[in-house]
């Protein structure tokens, strides 16, 4: 009894000791064998699948790992005891016992008695306790009681061990899941997440290294997204993609586990599991070199594998989240940018609709492109295509003004003048294929993104230095199918890349700008045409009035001419008939002379009314003046009048030479008559630039004391004369001729000294050079009298 108590006490002591479960079980089995004085006490544990029982504990010595001693369920005494859940005792002499238990000979070649006791509690069979002895052996009731006690203790300890192991595993798994979950939910930044995945995986599995490979959805290539710790130079992560499809039929997800040499030939252990995302393989998760408790590297066990699968599942969903989040974020960001640009576009459009002035439009356009709250480019340049010369002509450019907190809203900013304006007047590029990228953009009529073009022939030398931007974008301004100009943008100052959204917005803006600019151009053309029409109308009104006067005068003149011819003719006949000294002769003389005077007046009136034809041609003004001077030279000499000439070399005038000569003839005659006591006639010619072109100016000055103020306003009126002789038509005729040539005649009166008449006549050629459009209109205007009369 005392001995039984002692045995019990020892058993309890072992069971409550702090050593490991394995040791405890060993000690228990050893104690039992010693007490019962049997050769061996062995514990066979039932495997998970309940298919076999394998030797786990021996009372003699620890079971060597290489020793594999097991009995299938129901086979051998051990298997039988497990199957029947009853104690069985046999000895070698019984038939079949030796054969059925032959494996035992490995550890006890001469066994005789075998007694098997199931180790179980109420609902679970853990294994079988087998007592082995070399001779016949009977167990007393007390001994049986000890064995019974021992199996209960063993069962209890095993249950404890199992529970603890289970708990440990649960805790480990939970903590891993917690760790992984914590890591994965800590961030939605994809890069950060990938980093955390490999780090956590390696730590949880206690691996020396880990790597995550993701298959690029576009290219299909596998790339290492992130790695941690020691990863072999040559990644042995296997191409799971090939095994993946059939993997689904396997009870366990596919994996690859093994050993491979690294670059230095050192063996590495690896374990890789696939990442399947929505049924598709999206990558692999690999770990390398398990670090054992001893610090040695070793292979991975099934538990690691299980954990890696769990991780893979978590990773896939986290990746999914992160990818979705990233996509949503990208979309949101893109939308925001789009909305901002569209709003800016709308503002710019509104601003452009507010004006038809080309200059103002250009400012708004450039401003909208460079302003921070507009499209926000660093620099914008505008060039237009001159269709007549096929040249790209720089117009102007703008730089982005520095952003400030007080920056006004876009609509207000657009209304302001350009803050940083660039002049591109010296920028001219022929539109030819060999003239660089800008000319090409015009020819090809589509936008182009250009990477730093060194020494582009389309960029003037003075601009080469300023054109060191990494890339710049060229958008043609298209009207119908014709490029009317170019917008060039870059981010030279900030060296930011050119983003697709603002470029897209710029293209939309360019489409609208092209139309608005074209409209403005048409408007200004119409405006100019209108003004010209107004001018022509005024001139026509003027000529209408003169024409009315002309037709009246001409009708009268013709009616008067016939009677005058008769009167004068007969007077001459009478003159021939009367005696030389008859008083009648004097009367006839008067009639004859008066008629002659009337006939002269008649000729002048008919000249004035434009009866005479005009012959327009290109003539040298100086030569016309010289020719006219010849006509009056004798009169001037006779009147003791000195002539001073200051004649400049002028381009030829398109004019009616006879009419122009008439003008100067009249002016010279007037000057002569203003200086009855002699004086100086000064003639001066020079070019004069006016708003609409270049004119030839000829001035005729006398030293006749000037024109009294009270008559000055009348001098150009027909039939007005301060003289007792003459028709009073001289200046009127001169003015009318000059007006017909689209020139002007002005009078500068210096009372007490003399008068200067200044005749200015347009030089069509020069107006031509200055402005092609103006030239055409002026030239045709000059042609009106010659072509339009008759």
């Amino acid at each position: 009894m005392a001995e039984r108590t002692a045995f019990l006490a020892q058993m309890v002591e072992i069971n409550t000791s702090t050593v490991s479960f394995g040791e405890r079980l060993g000690n228990m089995v050893h104690l039992l064998a010693r007490h019962l004085k049997v050769d061996l006490a062995l514990y066979f544990g039932l495997d998970k699948n309940k298919e076999a029982l394998s030797l786990q504990i021996s009372s003699k010595a620890p079971v060597p790992p290489h020793l594999k001693l097991e009995f299938p369920w129901g086979r051998g005494t051990v298997g039988e005891a497990a199957q029947t859940r009853s104690n069985i005792q046999v000895d070698r002499r019984q038939p079949g016992v030796a054969e059925a238990n032959a494996p035992l000979e490995k550890i006890h070649p001469a066994f005789h008695t075998l007694a098997a006791f199931p180790v179980a509690d109420d609902n679970f069979l853990y294994g079988v306790l087998l007592l082995v002895h070399k001779s016949e052996r009977h167990f007393t009731a007390a001994e049986r009681q000890k064995v019974r006690l021992s199996t209960l203790m063993l069962a209890g300890t095993l249950r404890q061990a199992l529970m603890q192991e289970e708990a440990k595993k649960r805790i480990a798994e939970l903590s891993v899941l917690f760790e992984v979950g914590k890591a994965l939910s800590a961030t939605v930044e994809l890069d950060d997440l990938l980093e955390r995945i490999v780090t956590t995986t390696a730590k949880v599995i206690n691996a020396r290294g880990a790597a995550l490979q993701i298959i690029d959805r576009v290219s299909g290539e596998t790339r290492v997204s992130s790695k941690y710790g020691k990863v072999p130079g040559v990644l042995v992560c296997p191409p799971i993609s090939e095994t993946a499809p059939e993997a689904r039929t396997l009870p366990e997800p596919p994996y690859i586990q093994g050993q491979a040499p690294n670059a230095e030939g050192v063996l590495h252990y690896h374990l890789a599991v696939p990442l399947t995302f929505k049924g598709q393989l999206s990558g692999t998760l690999c770990v390398f070199d398990k670090i054992a408790a001893t610090g040695q590297f070793g292979p991975f066990d099934p538990e690691n594998r299980q954990l890696l699968f769990t991780m893979a599942g978590l990773i896939v969903s986290a990746l999914d989240n992160a990818l979705t989040y990233q996509q949503v974020e990208n979309l949101a960001e893109r939308n925001e940018r789009m909305v901002r640009h569209l709003t800016a576009l709308q503002e710019i459009s509104w601003a452009m609709l507010s004006t038809v002035q080309e200059d103002r439009l250009l400012d708004i356009l450039l401003q909208g492109i460079v302003l921070e709250n507009g499209l926000g480019f660093d620099r914008a340049l505008l060039l237009t295509v001159d269709e007549t010369t096929r040249t790209l002509q720089g117009i102007k450019g703008a730089l982005r003004p520095p952003a400030s907190p007080t920056s006004p809203i876009l609509a207000q900013a657009l209304a302001m003048p350009l803050a940083l304006e660039l002049s591109l007047a010296d920028w001219q590029v022929p539109v030819r294929a060999d003239q660089g990228a800008l000319a090409q953009a015009v020819l090809q009529r589509r936008p182009q993104l250009l990477r730093q073009p060194p020494k582009d022939p389309g960029i003037p030398p003075s601009w080469q230095a300023a054109f060191d931007a990494q890339e710049f974008f060229v958008v043609p301004l298209m009207v119908k199918d014709r490029a009317t100009g170019l917008i060039v943008v870059d981010n030279q100052t900030s060296a930011r890349p050119l983003e697709p959204e603002p470029l897209h917005a710029l293209q939309m803006l360019a489409t609208q700008a092209a139309l608005v600019l074209e409209n403005a151009h048409l408007y200004s053309t119409i405006d100019a045409n209108n003004r010209e029409l107004m001018l022509i109308r005024e001139r026509m009104l003027e000529s209408d009035r003169l024409a009315a006067l002309s037709s009246l005068a001409s009708g009268m003149a013709h009616e008067i001419r016939n009677p005058l011819v008769s009167i004068g003719g007969f007077a001459r006949r009478i003159e021939k008939m009367v005696e030389q000294n008859s008083p009648l002769r004097g009367y006839v003389e008067v009639i004859k002379e008066e008629v002659t005077r009337l006939e002269k007046l008649l000729r002048e009136i008919l000249d004035f009314t434009g009866e005479n034809l005009s012959y327009f041609g290109d003539h040298d003004l100086d030569q016309l003046i010289e020719d006219t001077l010849l006509l009056v030279q004798r009169d001037l000499d006779a009147g003791n009048i000195k002539v001073e000439k200051h004649l400049a070399v002028l381009p030829r005038l398109h004019c009616d030479d006879r009419q122009i000569k008439q003008v100067f003839y009249n002016l010279f005659q007037n000057a002569r008559q203003a200086m009855p006591h002699g004086g100086t006639l000064t003639i001066r010619t020079q070019p004069v630039e006016k708003e609409d072109g270049i004119y030839a100016a000829a001035s005729v000055s006398d030293t006749g004391g000037g024109i009294p103020m009270e008559v000055l306003h009348n001098i150009f009126n027909p039939f007005f004369s301060t003289k007792d002789y003459g028709t009073g038509l001289g200046l009127s005729i001169a003015q009318r001729i000059v007006a017909r040539h689209y020139g002007q005649i002005e009078v500068k009166n210096e009372l007490g000294y003399g008068v200067t008449f200044v005749v200015t006549l347009p030089i069509a050629k020069y107006c031509l050079v200055k402005d092609a459009g103006e030239k055409a209109s002026l030239a045709s205007a000059v042609n009106v009298p010659s072509g339009g009369r008759r």
Binding site: R561, N562, P563, V565, G569, E599
Partner: protein
């Protein structure tokens, strides 16, 4: 004696011209319009015709055309109060275009020239 026809609707002019030309030694016929002038041309072997342009019934231009049809060799001078048709006289195939003047020296010189005197 050279035969000259003066056609003018103004009696005073007809008188003046015929007096002056007779004095120069020509045989002068007169007509008051183009129609009359053509009749004279048909009847008389004229050496020269002086035509006014503006005349009733048939003007000088039409008379000139018909005279030149009948007798292309006959010199015809246009004498008129209008200066503005001068540029057209060549197309009308007249031999001279004279603007009327109280001084008849120009007219007489032209007559002499065309009669090759």
């Amino acid at each position: 004696m050279k035969k000259i026809l003066v056609a003018d609707d103004e009696m005073a002019i007809r008188l003046l011209y015929s007096e002056e030309l007779k004095e120069e030694g020509y045989e002068v016929y007169v007509a008051a319009n183009g129609q009359e002038a053509l009749e004279v041309v048909d009847k008389i072997p004229l050496d020269l015709v002086i035509l006014d342009i503006k005349m009733p019934e048939m003007d000088g231009i039409e008379a000139l055309r018909q005279i030149k049809e009948k007798r292309p060799d006959l010199p015809v001078l246009l004498s008129t109060a209008y200066g503005e048709y001068k540029q057209d006289f060549a197309t009308w195939a007249s031999d001279e275009y004279l603007v009327k003047s109280s001084d008849l020296d120009d007219l007489k010189a032209a007559v002499r020239r065309h009669l090759r005197e």
